[in-house]
């Protein structure tokens, strides 16, 4: 199908989310602020859960809240990401497929992104992600050449910088928000911090 672009901001937050909860499966939603049609530009993400990914109520709640927030901020939900607790297994779980399916109902070029924990280490040269798209009624691996990470070197160094200053602790996912509702699951402060690190050359993130 079409191309998928992953911004530094979205990538960094997904990575931080997985790093914040290394012993849990984590998931989240991929958002785009670009209009529909053409390439899928993933410009941001919302980290959702790190506990009980397969239980319905909180997932439903989170999806509804993110929907409302997207309407307010002119964004669309264009995909779903998940990192499994068991690092050696990066295949989509039934719950990942279910949620991706729901997103596909509203967005016909939705993507399902699995984070490959085995490839997450300092100095890793390859993006630790596996992307799936909807093809012929099932979720199939997307051709690696249609997945773009702009300014990969810079993105890598930004993520390393954030990790070494322990910034994964700043990330708030929906689960953490429910533990303390004064915490902001839209991560405005962290977003601003990351965007400051991104050079203008990285373009429209």
């Amino acid at each position: 199908m079409g191309e998928v672009e992953l911004s530094c901001l979205a990538y960094a937050k997904m990575y931080l989310h997985a790093s914040q909860f290394p012993r849990c499966s984590v998931n989240g939603l991929l958002l785009s602020s670009s209009p529909a049609g053409g390439a899928v530009c993933i410009t941001d993400c919302v980290p959702l859960l790190h506990t009980h990914l397969s239980l319905a109520p909180i997932t439903q709640l989170a999806l509804t809240q993110v929907d409302v927030w997207c309407l307010q901020t002119q964004q669309r939900i264009v995909g779903y990401y998940q990192a499994n607790a068991c690092v050696s297994d990066s295949s989509p779980t039934p719950c990942a497929l279910k949620i991706a399916e729901k997103i596909f109902e509203q967005c016909n070029n939705a993507v399902l992104l699995m984070i490959d924990g085995e490839k997450m280490f300092p100095g890793g040269r390859v993006p630790p992600i596996v992307v799936y798209e909807r093809k012929d009624g099932r979720w199939a691996l997307k051709d690696k050449h249609t997945i773009m990470l702009r300014q990969w070197e810079e993105t890598c160094s930004i993520v390393n910088q954030l990790l070494s200053s322990g910034d994964q602790g700043l990330l708030v996912d929906f689960d953490s928000h429910l533990d303390d509702i004064t915490k902001d699951w839209t991560n405005q402060k962290l977003n601003a911090k990351i965007l400051k690190l991104v050079s203008p050359a990285n373009g429209n993130v």
């Binding site: 009980h52 397969s54 239980l55 319905a56 109520p57 909180i58 439903q60 709640l61 509804t64 809240q65 409302v68 927030w69 309407l71 307010q72 068991c86 050696s88 297994d89 039934p94 719950c95 928000h177 429910l178 533990d179 509702i181 004064t182 902001d184 699951w185 839209t186 405005q188 402060k189």
Partner: protein, 297 residues
């Protein structure tokens, strides 16, 4: 690099007390434990008295969590020297092997403990953890069930089993485990709330009504449990919207949902006071509550 005591202006006694607190409350803040514990061991070992052994154990486990095999190894050596035939220390050696993914060697070690002492629950549980780490969920579930037949009162095991069942989408069995936990821990709001979530996930009118009751119970035990509050709102809304319920049941559930909605709004208003970035979530929640009401009616 400055030390912890310099950075945070704490005395060695305060560091020792912090470690005790983390130990007693079972925190898994491993990076902090390594930072504080390593300094305590290196700089103040002589002052710690007999406490040092349990601190070595605590720091060793935290070190394994942070891939600090150097630190884990030195703690283990101290413990081996002091307690040469201890099963407890042997188990720690096993955990180190697990951290190095040498599962066969770890299993051999645990098996030798169990040969000596078949009632050693720690070794049995480590074997089950290995199965989990290897992704062998069905075997882990089977072993855990066998374990619980013998050690029926082990809360940690019941909770671990409920988590395994939830991951496998076996909600009925997860509910059974949570029922055991609620029976022995009737004041624990988290178990009630988790039970509500499982019932909600199972779906169907009966399960939704049950979910609502358990969310309500969780709130009685802790009125700040936001998951229970949202759960109550959602389950009551669904019941009220069901065509199968009587007018009275519908009316009651509309009332419950309305109450929950007002509590949620209030909580968010209070949380959002004075914080600019929270205005987004306050608005998002208000709109969400509105949109859910529209779909419900």
């Amino acid at each position: 690099m400055s030390s912890i005591s310099e950075l945070y202006d704490v005395t060695w006694e305060e560091m020792r007390d912090k470690l005790r607190k983390w130990r007693e409350e079972n925190y898994r803040n491993s990076e902090q434990i390594v930072d504080v514990g390593e300094e305590l061991i290196n700089e103040h070992a002589s002052k710690l008295g007999d406490d040092i052994w349990i601190i070595y154990e605590q720091v060793m486990i935290a070190a394994l969590d942070c891939s600090r095999d150097d630190l884990a190894w030195s703690c283990l050596q101290e413990l081996k020297r002091q307690f040469p035939d201890s099963h407890r220390v042997k188990r720690l050696a096993g955990m180190r092997l697990e951290a190095l993914e040498r599962y066969e060697d770890a299993n051999k070690l645990y098996d030798s403990i169990l040969q000596d002492d078949p009632t050693n629950t720690a070794a049995r549980k480590r074997k089950i953890s290995i199965l989990r780490a290897q992704g062998k969920s069905s075997e882990a579930i089977r072993e855990l069930n066998e374990y619980l037949e013998q050690f029926v009162g082990d809360q940690e095991a019941w909770h671990e089993l409920s988590e395994l069942y939830i991951n496998e989408h076996d909600y009925a069995k997860a509910a059974f485990c949570l029922e055991e936990l609620m029976m022995t821990n009737p004041h624990n709001h988290l178990y009630c709330e988790q039970y509500g979530e499982v019932k909600y996930t199972q779906g169907g009118l009966e399960n939704l009504e049950l979910a609502r009751k358990y969310f309500a119970q969780a709130l009685k035990l802790n009125n700040r449990n936001m998951r229970a509050l949202f759960g109550l709102y959602m389950s009551a809304s669904h019941v009220a919207a069901s065509p199968k319920v009587s007018a009275k049941v519908k009316k009651d559930n509309v009332k419950y949902a309305a109450w929950a909605a007002s509590q949620i709004s209030r909580a968010y208003q209070m949380a959002g006071r004075g914080k600019k970035e929270n205005k987004c979530s306050v608005k998002a929640v208000e709109e969400m509550l509105e949109s859910m009401q529209i779909t419900m009616s």
